[in-house]
């Protein structure tokens, strides 16, 4: 089982849960599994061509998968996956 940390902006899709579990052998498989249980999550992580979006990072334990094997990065039992999107807030929040 893999533990997946869900960032605040995606929690509406996981009913507010900050951590969910998934059974998967790779990141690609994990995304499909997550999307089955939490529909809509895949389109937040991947663009229309299925590539990971450039402003969302996925870490396996402490490592960014862009510097491993991307979506083909393999997972093993007990791995902690973190989804970390770019966030911009800090100051006065003008629109």
């Amino acid at each position: 089982m893999i533990n997946v940390r869900i960032p605040t902006p995606l929690r509406p899709l996981t009913k507010g849960q900050g951590e969910v579990t998934a059974q998967a052998k790779s990141i690609a498989e994990m995304i499909e599994t997550l999307n089955a249980s939490h529909p809509g999550i895949k389109s937040r992580l991947c663009d229309e061509t299925g590539e990971l979006r450039r402003f969302v990072n996925i870490y396996v334990n402490e490592e960014d998968i862009r510097f491993l094997k991307g979506k083909e990065t393999s997972l093993k039992d007990g791995d902690e996956v973190s989804i970390v999107p770019a966030i911009a807030g800090g100051s006065s929040c003008r629109t």
Partner: protein, 267 residues
């Protein structure tokens, strides 16, 4: 230049730290730090930098103080509602420490003025509220070789990292190559933010800035810190240099500030 008696008294609790000492205090008093945004992050960061005796602090912000800011922007007060944030900020910072210089810039930062603004400073703290400014500040810091302490937040979650590609570390684009397109990320007015989270992240920024000035401790330049206030969890992940980075990689395609930095983060 030597420390005066009142200075030794004012800073005694940090001068007695062996990592600081009189020498470190002099480094702080010679340091020149520019805060981008005098809001949720710039407020706590500015207060601690001023209190620690950072000699020159620049505040750049185009906004005026609004009642809805006061929940988290602790540089400002009910009495300064309606005043430019940089003015309100200067009053607060100089009240805490009249020995420092506070420069104010009541303006937006853009590609035309940012490098000129940076000239007077050795370090930049980004507490801005939008992606266009964040990418512009990153790129300008890269070209001007300024150390950047970047923090951001969203609802109950914050991120922090130190950016100094001039010392061989990755830049912000190595972490996030591109800003999100309009519509995919809500802005913070819609999302809300916990005031105390702004405090935590801004103070972490001040702490990292002081470490970089003094050259002590572990740098955050190859790490990203993620703080989840609801779960009370701090996590650190590795932040490698991207060999394909368009800015700081070996074959850059961004070679000046002429790219389009306009990104809207509203839905």
């Amino acid at each position: 230049m030597e420390l005066t008696e009142p200075q030794i008294q004012r800073y005694s609790r940090q001068i007695i730290l062996s990592e600081v000492g009189g020498k470190g205090q002099m480094k702080l008093s010679k340091a020149r730090v520019l805060l981008i945004g005098a809001g949720g992050l710039g407020s706590p960061a500015g207060l601690y930098l001023a209190a620690a005796g950072v000699g020159t602090i620049g505040l750049v912000d185009s906004d005026i103080v609004d009642l809805s800011n006061l929940q988290r922007q602790i540089l400002h007060s009910t009495a300064t509602v309606g005043m430019p944030k940089v003015e309100s900020g200067r009053k607060t910072l100089t009240a805490i420490n009249p020995e420092i210089t506070v420069n104010t810039y009541h303006q937006l930062v853009d590609a035309d003025n940012i490098l000129q603004l940076f000239k007077e400073y050795d370090m930049v703290l980004d507490g801005s509220d939008n992606f266009s400014t964040r990418f512009l500040v990153n790129d300008a810091c890269f070209f001007a070789k300024k150390t950047l302490i970047s923090a951001s937040m969203f609802r109950f979650e914050g991120q922090l990292t130190t950016i100094k590609p001039h010392a061989g570390y990755p830049c912000y684009r190595c972490l996030y190559p591109e800003p999100p397109p309009a519509g995919l990320v809500p802005n913070c007015q819609e999302a809300g933010v916990l005031g105390a989270l702004a405090g935590t992240m801004g103070i972490l920024q001040a702490s990292e800035a002081i470490k970089e000035i003094l050259g002590i401790g572990e740098t955050m330049a190859d790490r990203l810190l993620i703080y989840d206030a609801l779960e009370m969890k701090f996590r650190k992940v590795r932040r490698p240099k991207d060999p394909a980075c368009r800015l700081c990689g070996p074959t850059p395609t961004i070679t000046n500030l002429s790219s389009d930095y306009t990104v809207t983060c509203t839905i």
